[in-house]
Amino acid sequence: MSFEEKGRWAYMIVVLIVSAVYFAGVLGQVGVIPVSEIGYVRPMITAIIATIVATIVAYIVVAISAPSEADKKDERDKNINRFGESIGYSVLGLLILLPLGLAMAEFEPFWIANAIYLAGVLAATISSIVKIVAYRRGF
């Protein structure tokens, strides 16, 4: 498995774990207290920063585990990355219609912000899956 492929796995796992923890903590309060009183801003910012930091740490760990491959990236890696990103952007473009609709319907900012975050998480996850499948099955 190349350094870039390991990186895709690391990023996807980080995104899934951090978002699962976030959604479990924040959405768990829905129905218990009014949505307008749920403090989601700090947890969401923390989740976004945690995703960035954990991904960087994961890349460093992957690089240390196989130093000889750490700086190797070729045209196949670039092509797979470009392909995965294009799918990810398409997914994001589609999913962003959900918070747009929520905003037009004047839902609570809580739902709009979380729908945007969910769209980002799903787009990142699908993009990562596409890249990993491309690495595994061919491209």
Binding site: E69, K73, V130, A134, G138, F139
Partner: protein, 74 residues
Amino acid sequence: MGKPTKVTNSIRALRFANDEMTQADLADRVGVTRQTIIAIEQGRYSPSLEMAFQVARAFSVPLDEVFRYPENNE
């Protein structure tokens, strides 16, 4: 996504004919990762024209001795 390429290659045979060159050695000569050489060899990746020439040059043979494309779009 992941469509199998129609391009076939003789990289494996050429490696063995060249003092059993390893995939890692070929990767170093071409300037790509070993995983990319494996993917090309197994028909899971169709390289760019430039990379295809580099692979052929690593074996000192013409391009069509390394890569072939079926006729009549079979």
